[in-house]
Symmetry: C2
Subunit: 199 residues, 2 copies
DNA sequence: TATAATTTTGACCCTTGAGTCAAATTTATT
DNA sequence: AATAAATTTGACTCAAGGGTCAAAATTATA
C-alpha cells in the first residue's frame, strides 16, 4: 500500500482524535463539577492517563476550557448554518433550531459551558465574541419573525435572552439517566419557546 | 437611658449588619466573577477591609457561599409565601411571582448563584434541598394551573425547568448600567413565561 | 535486531489563595 | 485616665493543584 503519505497522516489523525477526546472528557467534567472543581489529574484519570500525558496533548488547562467553549459554538454554528426552507416562518425555523440545540446538549455529548471568567482576557474576549455572534443571529431571526408576523412584538433581545436561559440551565439539571429523555425535552422546550414569543 | 439591655443588643446588631454586608458583597463578586475567581482578599478590599478582618465575621469561604445561596432562597421563599387572591388563576399567580423574582435579582442586590459543586457534601445537600423545595412549590402551582385550566398540559417539571433557566441566566447578561431596565425585564419575562405555558 | 520517533510516567517545582495568630488599634465602660 | 471589650492588621503557614522535565516505555521504521 501507498503508505509513504498516508502513514504520517494517520499519526496526525490519531493524535487529533486523542486530543479531541481529552477536550470532550474535560468538557463533561467541567460541565458536571465546574472548571475549578475538576483537576487536570481527575480529567487524566478518567481517561486512564496520568497528568503529564494530558499535557502531551494540550498546552494548559485554560486552553482546554477555551476549546470546550469553541467546540460548543462550532456545533451551534453548524446547526445555524442550514438554510431554512422559504415557506417556513422565522418562528418555525426558530422552533426547529431550538429543538436541535437541546438535542445537541443532551444526546450528543456537547457541553455548553458558562464559565467565561476563568479565561484570561484575550480568550474571554474571543469566546464572548463567538457567543454574541450566535446571539445576534438568533435575535435577527426573532426580528425576521416580527416582520413576517409570526412573532409578537417586544424587545427581540429580551425574547432571546429568555429562551437562551433555558438552554444554559440544562446543565444544572439534565441527567442522561433521569426520567426525562432527550427527545422529549427537545420537543417540549421547542414548543414552550415558540409559545412564549409567537404572535 | 436604659442602656444596660439595649447596648449589647446594638453591638450584636452592628456585628450582624456588617456580617450581612460581607455576605452580600461576596455574593456580588461570586455572581460576577465566579466563586473561585473571587478571592477573599478581593472581597475584603472591596469593603475597605483586610482579609483577617473578614474572618472576624465569617468562618470560611464556603460558609460565605452557603449563606449567599440561602439568602437568595430566603428572598424567594418570602415572595412565595404571600397567599394568592382567590380570584386569580394559578397562571396569574405564577406570572406575578416570576416578575417579582426577576425584580429581586435585578433591582434588589440578591444574587442567585448556581455554583453548588464548590460546597462540601452536607452544605451542598442543604442547598439542593432548599432549591428543590422551591421548585416543588412552583411545579405544584403549574399543576394547579393545569387543573384550573389556565395552563396547558405537558410535563409540569419541564414547564418549570424552562422558565427557571431564564432566571438563572440573568446573572450572565444583566447589567444594572445597561440598556435594559429592571422593571422592563421583569414585565417582559413575566409575560413570556406566561405565554410559554398558558392553555 | 537496531534505530528513531512517539507516547507515557514518577518525581519534582512553584504559585496562588485559604486560613491563622499574636499583637496593635480602636471603641466603649468605670 | 485606666481598663476592658471589640475590631483590625502584618506577617505568617499550609495545601492544592497547575505545570515541567528527564528518563522510561512503547510503537513504528530500516
Amino acid at each position: 500500500m501507498d503508505v509513504a503519505i498516508t502513514e504520517p497522516f494517520n499519526r496526525e489523525k490519531q493524535f487529533a482524535a486523542k486530543r479531541r477526546a481529552v477536550i470532550r472528557s474535560a468538557g463533561q467534567a467541567f460541565r458536571r463539577r465546574g472548571y475549578h472543581n475538576a483537576s487536570m489529574k481527575d480529567i487524566a484519570q478518567s481517561l486512564g492517563l496520568t497528568k503529564p500525558a494530558l499535557y502531551y496533548y494540550v498546552k494548559n488547562k485554560e486552553e482546554v476550557l477555551l476549546e470546550c467553549h469553541l467546540m460548543a459554538y462550532d456545533a451551534m454554528d453548524e446547526i445555524l448554518a442550514v438554510k431554512r426552507a422559504a415557506n417556513l416562518t422565522a418562528l418555525d425555523e426558530l422552533e426547529r433550531l431550538f429543538g436541535q440545540f437541546v438535542e445537541m446538549l443532551t444526546d450528543a455529548g456537547v457541553s455548553l459551558l458558562t464559565d467565561v471568567d476563568s479565561l484570561s482576557e484575550p480568550n474571554k474576549a474571543a469566546v464572548l465574541s463567538r457567543r454574541r455572534k450566535i446571539e445576534r443571529k438568533i435575535v435577527k431571526l426573532v426580528k425576521a419573525g416580527q416582520n413576517d408576523g409570526s412573532i409578537r412584538n417586544g424587545d427581540a433581545q429580551l425574547h432571546a435572552f429568555f429562551f437562551m436561559g433555558a438552554l444554559n440551565w440544562l446543565n444544572a439539571w439534565y441527567d442522561a439517566q433521569g426520567r426525562l429523555k432527550s427527545e422529549q425535552i427537545a420537543h417540549h422546550f421547542a414548543l414552550q419557546m415558540r409559545r412564549g414569543i409567537q404572535a
